[in-house]
């Protein structure tokens, strides 16, 4: 078992929480604590941390989704609703978008944002666990999960759950931090993640620990090829990924057979 497979069951009942090992049933509450803490300033911090590039990563992910008017889309770990808002305009009044998140504080911020921007009528908000999605089998055209999978305790279970609810031919898009392809970029990225990011978290959100967890959880997340294999194991076909910004982020796409 590789270092990056530690989130999968190991026989003991512990899992990663950043660089620490915690009881599997505790991780949900600890992740919830992190996101409760950062929810109010999540969008601002995303813009600051990525210099606004997260909008471009999401823009490309939405293009890859090839979602059409009238379709049903679920955005898991959708948090503050920026992706759901875009999908809401694409699917139109005949389609449906579900903004799903395990964290009530993030959903609250998302709901307020969607109302403020007039994205109403075809969006539902659901508080749920990605490992056990509360949707019928074969009912969804497209699922996206952006910067959320690394926080899930059992990623394999989550991918299987997504595969279950997708319609045959439906597609899953996983946008997540990954492994830089250039060693020099990786070094610079490490310095940024472990020195600058917690500092920014302390200054802007008054919460260095949460942002340290975010950096650590990125390092513990499976790299591009490992995640590709996990998606294939969950039953997805035609799986592929696109590296963005030198592999700092990758978007994986899989189709339900």
């Amino acid at each position: 078992m590789t270092d990056q497979d530690k989130d999968t069951p190991t026989g003991d009942d512990t899992t990663d929480f950043g660089f620490s090992r915690v009881k599997r049933d505790q991780k949900v509450n600890m992740v919830r604590g992190v996101f409760d803490s950062v929810a109010a300033r999540y969008d601002l911090m995303n813009d600051l941390m990525s210099a606004g590039i997260h909008r471009l990563w999401k823009r490309f992910t939405i293009e890859l989704s090839a979602v059409r008017p009238g379709q049903v889309v679920v955005d898991i770990a959708g948090g503050t609703g920026d992706i759901a808002e875009r999908f809401s305009r694409i699917v139109g009044p005949d389609g449906q978008v579900v903004l799903a998140d395990i964290n009530a504080a993030m959903l609250g911020v998302g709901r307020d944002r969607l109302i403020d921007r007039g994205a109403l009528g075809n969006i539902d908000l659901v508080q749920c666990d990605a490992q056990a999605l509360p949707f019928p089998d074969n009912s969804v055209d497209c699922i996206t999960i952006a910067f959320g999978l690394r926080n899930v305790t059992d990623k394999d279970a989550a991918l299987r759950s997504m595969e279950r609810v997708l319609k045959p031919g439906g597609r899953l898009l996983v946008l997540e931090f990954s492994k830089p392809t250039n060693p020099l970029l990786e070094q610079a990225y490490d310095t940024y993640s472990f020195r600058i990011l917690p500092f920014m978290g302390r200054v802007v959100a008054n919460d260095a620990d949460s942002y340290r967890y975010l950096a650590e959880s990125i390092r513990k997340h499976p790299d591009q090829d490992t995640l590709l294999g996990m998606m294939e194991d969950a039953g997805f076909v035609d799986c592929q990924y696109h590296n963005m910004t030198g592999g700092i982020v990758a978007v994986h796409r899989g189709i339900k057979a």
């Binding site: 471009l56 823009r59 293009e63 696109h242 590296n243 910004t245």
Partner: protein, 214 residues
């Protein structure tokens, strides 16, 4: 995965371009309406060197959506090198350049011509955002000043081009005039045709002599 470019970099470029184009279209309601009337059109601009494809979707509300990835069937696909596209963009007569260049067009060309005509006729009301920000008097005066500057700049460029051309042709005698050059090419072509005809005639005579056993 083999990638020739970073999708995020292309997305950034396209997002900026899309925002600028749609901002300009918002200030040119006639052009925006005409674009909206075209229906659901998807143009694929396929650059072979460097290898990158950009899709332009015309939305019914008269805006443009620029994408690096699109699964919709392209109404028109234009393929060529970056040099070909730059030549097309810089051309005074885009239709002629499109026909005479190495650009390959697949699909329905009507929307492409229609969009080109809409862009040519596009009359952007640059004064509107200035008036909105600065008020009627200051906005109008600034717009007038900008118009005068642009007109001066445009005249200066035209004048410079004319003078440069005159210098190259008349003063420096560095290049023959266009008409002389075209006449020379016509003569070369005519000589080529005559030589071809002479060659055919010689071959025909040769065959006749062979038949006669001479």
């Amino acid at each position: 995965m083999n990638q020739t470019h970073d999708p995020a970099a292309l997305s950034g470029l396209l997002a900026g371009l899309e925002a600028a184009i749609n901002r300009a279209l918002a200030l040119a309601p006639a052009a925006s309406r005409e674009l909206g009337d075209l229906g659901n059109v998807v143009l694929a601009i396929e650059c072979t060197a460097p290898e990158v494809t950009v899709f332009i979707r015309v939305a019914p509300q008269g805006t443009l959506q620029l994408m690096g990835y699109c699964e919709d069937k392209a109404t028109t696909r234009v393929r060529g090198t970056l040099e070909d596209f730059i030549a097309l963009a810089m051309s005074d007569d885009p239709a002629a350049t499109l026909i005479n260049s190495e650009l390959e067009i697949v699909g329905n060309t009507a929307p492409l011509v229609a969009i080109q005509q809409i862009v040519t006729r596009m009359d952007v009301d640059w004064e509107a955002p200035l008036v909105e920000k600065l008020g009627d008097v200051a906005g109008h005066q600034l717009a007038e000043a900008m118009r005068a500057t642009f007109a001066w700049g445009s005249n200066a460029v035209t004048s410079l081009r004319r003078q440069l051309s005159e210098y190259i042709l008349e003063e420096g005698r560095l290049s023959p005039p266009k008409a002389e050059l075209e006449h020379f090419f016509e003569q070369v072509q005519a000589v080529g045709h005559r030589v071809d005809r002479l060659q055919s005639r010689i071959e025909r005579l040769k065959r006749r002599l062979d038949k006669a056993g001479v």
